[in-house]
């Protein structure tokens, strides 16, 4: 499913667009950066409540499709700027992480 479709279906607020045409293969959830470096696969979407600047570098280095911050967590403007500069999609959802994961899981499994 394309990133732009995921954004629409989950009602995400987009802070940085990234590549909306990119395919979201699967997703990974963690707030520990090294864990994401170890476990996330290229093409994964990353769901987290970690808002620190380094999430952009991690997403870039792992070739992730984008970052979704749950619970309405808003990153600092520098983080948004960095994401735009690096071409990383950065999105926000008001839903708690667990619900967001559940919805995305259904969606990517084709049962949305």
């Amino acid at each position: 499913m394309r990133l732009s479709d995921v954004v629409e279906r989950l009602g995400l607020e987009v802070l940085a667009r990234g590549n909306p045409e990119r395919e979201v293969n699967w997703a990974y959830t963690s707030d520990l950066l090294s864990d994401v470096m170890a476990g996330a696969q290229p093409g994964d979407m990353w769901l987290t409540i970690q808002r620190h600047m380094n999430i952009v570098a991690v997403a870039k280095l792992r070739d992730l499709t984008g970052i979704v911050l749950a619970k309405g967590i808003k990153p600092a403007q520098e983080v948004v700027d960095k994401a735009r500069e690096e071409g990383i999609a950065l999105m926000v959802s008001d839903k708690p992480l667990f619900e967001l994961c559940g919805e995305l899981y259904q969606l990517l499994r084709g049962r949305g």
Partner: protein
């Protein structure tokens, strides 16, 4: 070109805000050098964790050198202290000496060195307390993964 050498220095700023800048640069340089994606990703993980360690634990930062050869990529990481007290322990997944504030920023999972080893085909680490740490990592290039 048969062999390309890239050299970087990581500054220890006491802040995490710029961490990832060097490894992002390394990733870009290797992509421009025509290194296949899978290799770039593995090198990027190794360099990210190295950069993190240099920024987090050293007083003066350190150096990362990346040597691209037709069949392999060598990564050399070097700093002049403080050194790792128990390398064997530090290599165990989950072992961390990071303080709480580091954990809260999403670091200190105790996966830095294990991640580096996991992504390396050869991984060597030498550390001496008060002197510094040297790491040599090799990633063999697999042409079938060529981007």
């Amino acid at each position: 070109m048969d062999r390309q050498v890239f050299a970087y220095s990581v500054v220890s700023t006491g802040s995490f805000d710029d961490v990832g800048v060097v490894s992002t640069e390394i990733k870009r340089d290797l992509e421009e050098a025509g290194v296949e994606k899978d290799t770039v990703r593995r090198v990027a993980v190794i360099c990210f964790e190295a950069e993190m360690n240099l920024a987090l634990y050293t007083e003066r930062g350190g150096n990362i050198q990346v040597v691209v050869e037709p069949d392999r990529v060598d990564i050399y990481v070097e700093d002049d202290g403080p050194g790792i007290e128990d390398v064997e322990k530090a290599m165990q997944p989950g072992y961390s000496t990071a303080p709480l504030w580091v954990h809260e920023l999403g670091f200190g999972a105790g996966m830095g060195l294990p991640n580096m080893k996991e992504n390396s085909d050869i991984f060597e680490i030498v550390s001496e307390l008060g002197k510094g740490t040297k790491i040599h990592s090799v990633v063999f290039r697999r042409k079938e993964d060529a981007a």
